[in-house]
Amino acid sequence: MGIEVFLGLFTVEFFYATIRMASPIALAALGEVYVEKAGILNLGIEATMLMGAFFGVLGSALSGSAFVGVLTAMAAGMLTGLLFGFLVITMRANQIVTGAALNIAALGMTSFLSRIIFGVRLLPVQVQGIKPLPIPFLKDIPGLGKILFEQTPLVYFTYFMVIVMTYALYRTTWGLKIRSVGEHPRAAETLGISVIRWRYGCVLLGGALGGIAGSILSLAQLSTFVDNMIAGRGFIALAAVIFGRWNPLGAAAAALVFGAADAMQMRVQAFSLNLPSDFLLMLPYLITLIGVIIFRGRAAAPVALTKPYEKEATA
């Protein structure tokens, strides 16, 4: 592969695809930042996204409206989050095991429901998807306009959430409370902050965003549901949180890197180079692995992460 060919990869289409592929990861990672900042590790983002992807398609199929599909996806994500929250917050179950179990359960459930509802077909069912919505004027900015502002509304929603969630975490009393709950829940409790309530709140928020993220993959990219269509992107979102040092902005930046890997994989395939496609499909995951090794360590992690909270002291 000559250098010209390599540089030829970095076209406007490549950057456009980067943003498009990064947005579901970024959105899920943003939610997970809040969940982890509150002291909970949700290994089940994959499940949340898969539920979102499936119920998004179902909602769209039943209503004929992609927007209703997204709302359905959000509700499904929140329900998944609520179930996870009930298990790990109220029942104080092990967060890792619960998250892993949810992933397996969601995989089985969505594949099963998909066959029951849509039947076994030669070609997957096509539903009303989400179309790109170029923003007037902004889309005419040279270079950037095409890359950033000819995306789907869900990508714009992602931009919006990156800003709002970064601001809220560091510049509002709510953000302060969330961070305190994940750092030193007992201290928060002595100041009258309900650890349980804030943790539920974050898990629900994470579920909502994870569900919408899932619907981006099904509704905005394929307009259909395919078994196991999240394909590990939930775990990549989890890596983006670590990569981004538990900072919403950082997680979004990390998501961009993974999105670029995904876009690269598609571009290289299109170049029909003499590389096995399996190798290219591996690329985003390989980059995730390398990223997590480089940005290892718990130094920035919330202190109470994965530790269940019990209200009454015994001593």
Binding site: R171, T173, K177, E183, H184, A187, T190, L191
Partner: protein, 513 residues
């Protein structure tokens, strides 16, 4: 004077114990009221009930004559009650101001107006002499400064009644003076202070009235002006205590521990020990005095083979130790009473008998042909419970459920029953009450009489002066001076602890005649 707080017949049970057994007491407005009692007497439980952290099984709280129910800290705060916990409730990665405003509504809720909050913090800190920088991160602060942040937190919430749980346990003598100045100022401004303590001298110095608790019951409430330390001690313990020790005269024998020019890094990678040298002989107690965090933990780790030594060497009974070989060091007859008994001294989820055999589990009589001999373990444990007067419902009880004093006795029993030649004692009486403290010190003296060499590391100067033969002062990982206890000059030691003064190399004050 009107009564601010009246507690009537407060009862609180925990599994197996009655922590508060019909406690009634009255606290007057504008006084400093001490709650005095040994560990496990129920002081903290009672205050957690008042602060809404625990719900009493029975009893009534009256505030300014009105019956109130306090179900959560939020309600306590609304009633004007603030509490400074023994283990600070601060978030290390937050700034001072963030810690102070956490949980409070801001004028433009939910927007966090940090500048305006910093201004309030500055005002409060100025009014009450609570010196602290509102912008610094809490983990950068000294323990004394962190405590001031806790007090500011309560004042920011307009506390009228301030509960301080063992506030001096973690402070240096000069920090205690600062705290007392602040408390006097608070009372001047009309606040009421509840001061939980087991230190008699401090209670006599700062408090107006004292309520003594023992085994969850009120012994009596007295005016400090009408009592004295020994009377309080008797009420607290229920018998006479002797705070002076008669030390048997010992001639120091051969060297059991030699530390030669040791340097080591702390966990954070900064120099924690710099060229430290010291000896411990058989039959002597060597004290290491110094303010917490000046290399004491690293020194113990180095001796126990738990920390890499960059320079120098450590010899036990004349033989050099290798790091990462703690098992061998232990087997050479070294016992260690760790600084933090919860983290290093015992496994809280293990039973009493399991913790007691932790260091010898692999040896006879506990293990025979790779199997535990439960009869031997049981009879050993029961013997230890008797000998060390460990108050526990049985040898199967989890050590995490024992009181602090009894936990320490368990550690002591395990470490001393091995008849060690060298004992490393890190803060052996930290958090213990008068009775248990006296007991631990007697035990260490008995070990000295048996011929063991003891390295006693303590931040309480009084402890080092009362039982050690010789002492060294450590400051920022360096030995500032060495002297025999009998002719130690308190003023000098204080200057060395603060790093102001340093004894010229190789000089040790002459052994007294």
């Amino acid at each position: 004077m009107e009564n601010t707080i009246r507690l009537e017949n407060i009862v609180k049970h925990f599994p197996g114990v009655c922590a508060n057994d019909h406690i009634s007491l009255t606290i007057k407005k504008g006084e400093v009221h001490a709650l005095l009692g040994e560990n496990g007497a129920g002081k903290t439980t009672l205050m957690n009930v008042l602060y809404g952290l625990l719900c009493p099984d029975f009893g009534q709280i009256f505030l300014n004559g009105e019956a109130v129910e306090i179900r959560s800290p939020k309600e306590a705060i609304e009633h004007g009650i603030g509490m400074v916990h023994q283990h600070f409730m601060l978030i290390p990665v937050f700034t001072v101001t963030e810690n102070v405003v956490l949980g409070e509504d801001m004028p433009r809720e939910p927007l966090l107006d940090i500048q305006q909050a910093e201004q309030r913090v500055k005002e409060i800190s100025h009014t009450y002499g609570l010196d602290v920088d509102p912008k610094s991160k809490v983990w950068h602060l000294s323990v004394g400064a962190q405590q001031r942040v806790e007090i500011i937190k309560a004042l920011y919430r307009n506390a009228k009644i301030l509960i301080l749980d063992e506030p001096t346990a973690v402070l240096t003598p000069s920090e205690v003076d600062i705290l007392f100045k602040v408390l006097r100022k608070l009372v001047e401004e009309g606040l009421t202070v509840i001061f939980i303590s087991h230190k008699l001298q401090e209670v006599m110095e700062i408090c107006d009235r004292v309520t003594v608790l023992r085994n969850g019951r009120v012994v009596d409430t007295v005016e400090t002006s009408e009592t004295n330390q020994s009377e309080l001690a008797r009420m607290m313990v229920g018998r006479e205590v002797f705070l002076q020790f008669d030390k048997e005269k010992m001639t120091a024998g051969e060297k059991v521990l030699e530390v030669k020019g040791v340097s080591a890094l702390s966990d954070r990678g900064v120099a924690a020990l710099q060229n430290i040298s010291l000896d411990v002989h058989c039959g002597e107690i060597v004290g290491i005095a110094g303010v917490d965090g000046n290399g004491q933990c690293e020194l113990v780790d180095a001796i126990m083979g738990l920390r890499k030594i960059d320079r120098g060497s450590i010899l036990i009974k004349g033989k050099k130790i290798k790091e990462n070989n703690t098992r061998e060091i232990i087997q050479r007859g070294v016992s260690c009473i760790p600084f933090d008994r919860h983290a290093e001294g015992l496994v809280k989820s293990f039973s009493l008998s399991e913790v007691l055999m932790l260091k010898e589990w692999n040896n006879l009589p506990f293990t025979r042909h790779y199997l535990f001999d439960f009869n031997a373990i049981r009879s050993f444990s029961e013997g230890m419970v008797r000998e060390y007067d460990i108050r526990a419902p049985g040898i199967e009880v989890k050590t995490g459920n024992l009181s602090g004093g009894n936990q320490q006795k368990v550690v002591l029993a395990r470490e001393l029953s091995r008849k060690p030649d060298l004992i490393i004692a890190g803060q052996p009486t930290r958090g213990l009450d008068v009775g248990a403290t006296e007991y631990v010190r007697q035990r260490l003296l008995a070990e000295r009489a048996r011929g063991a060499g003891i390295l006693l590391i303590s931040t309480e100067l009084e402890e080092i002066l009362s039982i050690s033969d010789r002492l060294l002062v450590i400051y920022e990982g360096q030995i500032m001076g060495e002297m025999f206890t009998a002719n130690a000059d308190l003023h000098d030691i204080g200057l060395m602890m603060a790093g102001v003064k340093r004894q010229p190399d190789g000089q040790i004050k002459e052994m007294p005649v």
